[in-house]
């Protein structure tokens, strides 16, 4: 019973408290790039979620075998192979989605969310919990993409999932589906989420960790510690 409850928690944290896009500010590139239409956003969310769940399961299952020293390259290989498998399946069975996502489909490899979860969760937790964690994060990612793309498609193209909306479709505010609109909607969405978080007494979302990349956990091990180490050595 206790186990079940904690699994539920693992799942739901990815959607609200630790939403990868809106709270942890990970995976910003695909969020901005594929949210021009609800359809491509959902496609991206689904593809990334599949990769996330599979890689979390594989990495968790192999966590005791993968040597500490080469774990990052090992994770990258595992993630890249799942991405390629998903890419081939999409090309074969959903060629339209492949056209919409274009280069962003193979770029799931460098989606910080996936490597981040591998390092922060799957490498330390059992298979089932990792799978649930991956699923929760995937759903959270997809939800954020869905929100972004709904706003952008409704205002920018006057349609929703390709169905045109009367009045709006005659007067679309094009800027919303152009690149600036992506930044703008994301900024406003972050502000709204921050406002809710503040009401609940939670900290606001910020880019954190080592100065550059928000992929705090992974990159810390990779570079920041090294950087700090170097700084110490030279000092």
């Amino acid at each position: 019973m206790a186990e079940k409850k904690s699994l539920g928690k693992e799942f739901s944290k990815g959607i609200l408290a630790e939403n990868p896009v809106l709270r942890l500010v990970l995976g910003t590139c695909p969020t901005l790039a594929t949210s021009t239409s609800v359809q491509s956003a959902l496609g991206m969310g689904l593809a990334a979620s599949i990769v996330l769940v599979c890689s979390n399961i594989a990495i968790s299952a192999l966590r005791k075998i993968i040597p500490e020293k080469v774990r990052i390259p090992a994770y990258i290989v595992i993630i890249a192979s799942f991405v390629t498998i998903v890419q081939m399946l999409v090309k074969a069975f959903a060629p339209e989605l492949d056209e919409q996502l274009g280069v962003y489909l193979p770029l799931i490899v460098v989606n910080c969310i996936i490597l981040g979860r591998a390092e922060a969760f799957a490498s330390k937790n059992p298979v089932l919990a990792s799978a649930v964690d991956g699923l929760g994060m995937g759903v959270g990612f997809t939800t954020a993409l869905f929100l972004m793309s709904s706003v952008r498609e409704i205002l920018g193209a006057g349609s929703f999932l390709g169905m045109s909306i009367p009045f709006l479709s005659q007067n679309p505010v094009l800027i919303f589906i152009l690149p600036p609109g992506g930044f703008f909607v994301f900024g406003i969405l972050m502000a709204v989420v921050n406002r809710f978080a503040e009401k609940k007494g939670k900290p606001r979302a910020e880019l954190r960790g080592c100065e550059a990349c928000p992929m705090a956990q992974t990159c810390k091990l990779n570079s920041c510690e090294k950087t700090e180490e170097k700084a110490e050595v030279s000092a």
């Binding site: 993968i66 081939m88 090309k91 060629p95 094009l174 589906i177």
Partner: protein, 192 residues
């Protein structure tokens, strides 16, 4: 910082990494063998349906040839009784977001029977509107050298898409390439 390394400390991780790479490669090769034919089939299907769309009279197509000078590829379309009804050309021109690849159908009389956009990187909502029939149908029935015009669609003019003149120019340039190759090929065929 670094202590002397035990050979085992280097070997074990390296071997593990190698094993992981091998296993994933095998997995990928398997998926590839399953999906390869399907992917090729998808591409072929798309090609066939686009051809049928731009040259509706044709029921069969000859082998694809390439015009060396312009890089335009083309094939001849024939009706059920084997008579030539025109040509289908694939040409591309530079648009706002990279190459716009256009397939143009030209009837035996030299008039355009249909235009379709095979691939493009144009802005959604602006240049991407070139894939809509409203724009593509503006080409039908035209022949000779076409020019982009902002307001009119008469004669040699092709009315541009609102706020997407560059894309419109690219499509027209690609169609003009197709038409010029047509005059060579069809002329050559008559002489021969």
């Amino acid at each position: 910082m670094k202590k002397k390394m035990n050979p085992k400390d280097i070997l074990v991780p390296a071997v593990m990494l190698l094993i992981i790479c091998l296993v994933t490669t095998v997995l990928l090769a398997l998926t590839n063998s399953v999906t390869k034919t399907k992917i090729a089939q998808n591409a072929a299907d798309k090609e066939t349906s686009s051809r049928a769309e731009v040259l509706p009279e044709a029921t069969q197509f000859s082998e694809v040839k390439i015009d060396e000078a312009t890089g335009v590829t083309y094939c001849e379309g024939k009706n059920a009784s084997g008579e030539s009804v025109g040509y289908v050309f694939t040409s591309s021109a530079k648009g706002y977001g990279g190459d716009v690849t256009v397939m143009t159908g030209v009837g035996s009389d030299g008039k355009i029977t249909g235009v379709t956009i095979l691939s493009h990187g144009e802005t959604p909502g602006l240049g991407a509107n070139s894939t809509k029939p409203e724009f593509r149908n503006r080409f039908i029935g035209k022949s000779g050298e076409l020019v982009v015009n902002k307001t009119s669609n008469d004669g040699q003019n092709v009315q541009a898409i609102t706020a997407a003149t560059i894309t419109s120019k690219a499509v027209v340039a690609a169609v003009n390439d197709a038409l010029s190759v047509f005059s060579e090929v069809s002329g050559g065929a008559e002489n021969g």
